[in-house]
């Protein structure tokens, strides 16, 4: 049997905040623990996913959670929708209680949702969520990220017109779409900006090259929004000798290092973070749902954001560590306290 639609408020609202006022609440029949939980990842082969897997693993082992989990399995199916759906169905067949997943495609889960509801299995998509309201999902508000970035740029540029470079992510992805829309809405509301769009694929090298091209052809920009591979965007700026301008981007450690170092020269930066820690929150949400708590259908995790005014070495970035990991990882209200440095760079000192 699937979840019941119930009235709020939900369980632990400081962690499981409903997306907006219209968000429904869901309630599953309580099950006896400990539970069998699976994480079905799609693509593996970038730092974010690896950090996410590490976070999930460590979180499942952490005190307070460990006792509630009988079995925790992680599989990565690659960018293959059929394989991912197959894996989810397989775990349902195997009798798992909850399945946490990053969807390869935002559509196509109808069948597994049907099966999950029949079998009383809780499916929790996060990060790349589904375009459906039939399952409980966990994410940060991508539209808000774009909007917040646009507003930041307008504020820092201090004018209502100008030329803005937008470095987009992977074409066709809903995250890219939402962030883009947020940015455009913010800019439109604030004035008359010319926006030059290029594709950076959320990849350092690609966004660096695309930015370099745009700079060589377009000359000057007044502000930059980059969805990912943000450090590459900045590097292209520096290589081209372009003066530093306000910039909004992702939460890579490298990007935050650049902001911290060059803010005084004009690199006024904002760094939001799609956090790999979402995996931990999703596991926590799955357990809460299995325990019979009332949960929002769409859980909004607060966007961890920092800007040049509040960057602090050793706290929200690490100047002595590798550029690659994603700084925001912990969510104290949710009792998720796994620091990125602990899982991604714990042996950094030993490596020397």
């Amino acid at each position: 049997a699937g979840p019941e639609i119930v009235e709020g408020p939900g369980y632990l609202p400081e962690c499981f905040a409903p997306w907006d006022a219209d968000t429904k609440f869901m309630k599953w029949e309580a099950k006896e623990g400990p539970y069998r939980i699976a994480l079905v990842n799609g693509f593996v082969g970038n730092t974010w996913r690896i950090q996410m897997i590490q976070t999930a693993k460590v979180y499942a082992e952490s005190p307070g959670i460990k006792e509630k989990i009988k079995e925790f399995k992680i599989v990565s199916t690659g960018t293959d929708a059929a394989a991912q759906l197959g894996a989810i169905e397989d775990f349902i067949n195997q009798g798992f209680d909850a399945i946490v997943t990053i969807a390869v495609s935002p559509e196509g889960f109808d069948r597994v949702i049907r099966l999950a509801d029949r079998n009383g299995v809780v499916i929790v998509p996060f990060d790349n969520t589904l375009d459906t309201d039939k399952v409980m999902q966990v994410n940060e508000d991508q539209y808000q990220m774009g909007k917040m970035s646009g507003e930041f740029l307008v504020k820092e540029m201090g004018k209502t017109s100008g030329k803005i470079l937008e470095v987009r992510g992977v074409p066709g992805n809903s995250v890219d779409r939402d962030r883009h829309q947020g940015l455009r809405d913010a800019l439109e509301a604030a004035g008359d900006f010319e926006v030059v769009e290029i594709v950076g694929n959320w990849d350092t090298g690609t966004s660096q090259k695309a930015t370099a091209d745009a700079l060589a052809v377009h000359g000057r920009f007044d502000g930059i929004f980059t969805q990912g591979g943000s450090d590459g965007t900045v590097r292209a700026l520096m290589d081209a000798g372009h003066p530093f301008v306000p910039i909004a981007g992702e939460g890579e450690n490298g990007f935050r290092k650049q902001i911290a170092q060059h803010a005084k020269d004009g690199l006024k930066g904002l760094s939001y973070g799609q956090s790999p820690g979402l995996a931990a929150i999703s596991i926590k949400a799955a357990i809460a749902a299995l325990e019979g708590n009332t949960m929002p259908q769409m859980i909004s995790v607060p966007i961890p954001v920092a800007d040049y005014t509040n960057l602090k070495d050793g706290e929200n970035y690490w100047s002595d560590l590798t550029d690659n990991f994603f700084t925001p990882n912990e969510f104290p209200p949710c009792d998720v306290n796994i620091k990125a440095v602990d899982i991604m760079a714990k042996t950094a000192e030993n490596v020397e």
Partner: protein, 326 residues
């Protein structure tokens, strides 16, 4: 024909079939630049695509692809293909920068050579089709890098030397361009002036006959794969210098463009025929096309269609392949 060891008699107006693709690709580069310039003139009133800054920058960025394509070409000339390029490149960059210090570059290159050696052994000794063996090796290297990244996150910052090689310049000429040029000279010498070069063409044409000519075909195959691995790793090392760090997946955007560059340059995808100059021209064509489309803000759909049509068109004008009985 393949290597043209002896001078050909002047055959009037007709181009040798080897030169034709190079000239046509060269002409197409001009078309791309003209189109881009028309666009910038219309939208901004500048001819930025013709500025030396832009062109040098394209050559700098093109060098990474060019280096990968050089290695890919050797393997393609043999009638094989190297699909392990993406993660060989990434592994070279990641392991090189993990070691850091003076050994970063040698270690990075060594990683590429070891991967190339694996490929070569699989193809030459196990006789597994290269298409599939290198695919497997690519998967293994990816798995290896994923394993290393989790929990061990080694140092990934490029060393100063790597950065210099990728972004420095000498008398205004970008260093990567110089590295590419040096590599190109070596490859041309290898292909045209050494026995190994002849053997590569011979094996690409007919391995059985090459073997019966007393050529150590296995060694040649292994060597070509090792060079290809080293080229990928070199590109990885430079790319890490360019972005000042190595990261997962940095090689993914290089495989198909490298193969396309080689083919557009007139090298037969089945091996045995092709000139290195063609690969250089093909590389520049691909890099400029990518860049111009990016600047023109062409949507992904249009970009894919244009890439496809360009490749088909180029090959169509190169002249159709020989008939079956020739």
């Amino acid at each position: 024909m393949a290597t043209g060891s002896l001078p050909k008699p002047a055959s009037g107006w007709s181009l040798s079939p080897e030169d034709k693709p190079i000239l046509i690709a060269g002409a197409f580069i001009l078309v791309i630049l003209a189109t881009g310039t028309a666009y910038t003139l219309a939208t901004q009133g500048t001819a930025s695509f013709l500025s030396p800054v832009y062109l040098l920058q394209q050559l700098q960025v093109g060098a990474f692809l060019g280096i990968v394509a050089a290695g890919a070409m050797l393997v393609i000339l043999l009638g094989h293909i190297d699909l392990s390029i993406p993660w060989t490149l990434t592994a070279g960059a990641m392991l090189g920068s993990a070691i850091g210090g003076p050994y970063a570059i040698p270690v990075g290159l060594a990683v590429g050579m070891v991967v190339g050696l694996m490929n070569g052994l699989g193809v030459a000794y196990l006789r597994v089709p290269s298409m599939i063996f290198t695919l497997g090796v690519n998967a293994v290297m990816r798995g290896f890098m994923v394993m290393l990244t989790g929990g061990y996150a080694p140092q990934s910052t490029a060393t100063p030397l790597m950065s210099y090689l990728a972004t420095g310049n000498v008398l205004g000429i970008p260093m990567p361009l110089i590295v590419w040029a040096v590599l190109s000279v070596l490859v041309v010498l290898l292909l045209q002036r050494t026995a190994i070069g002849r053997y590569i063409y011979a094996i690409g044409n007919r391995e059985r006959a090459a073997y019966l000519s007393g050529i150590n075909t296995r060694m040649v195959i292994i060597l070509a794969f090792v060079v290809s691995g080293a080229c990928s790793a070199l590109a990885g090392v430079l790319l890490a210098g360019y972005s000042s760090k190595a990261y997962q997946g940095m090689g993914d955007p290089y495989l198909l463009p490298a193969i396309a560059a080689v083919v557009i340059g007139g090298t037969n995808i089945l091996g045995g025929r092709g000139r290195y100059l063609g690969t250089v021209v093909g590389t520049i064509l691909i890099v400029l096309l990518t860049s111009v489309l990016s600047v023109m803000q062409m949507p992904e759909a249009g970009r894919q269609i244009i890439y496809g049509l360009v490749i088909i068109l180029m090959l169509l004008v190169y002249g159709r392949q020989r008939g079956v009985i020739a």
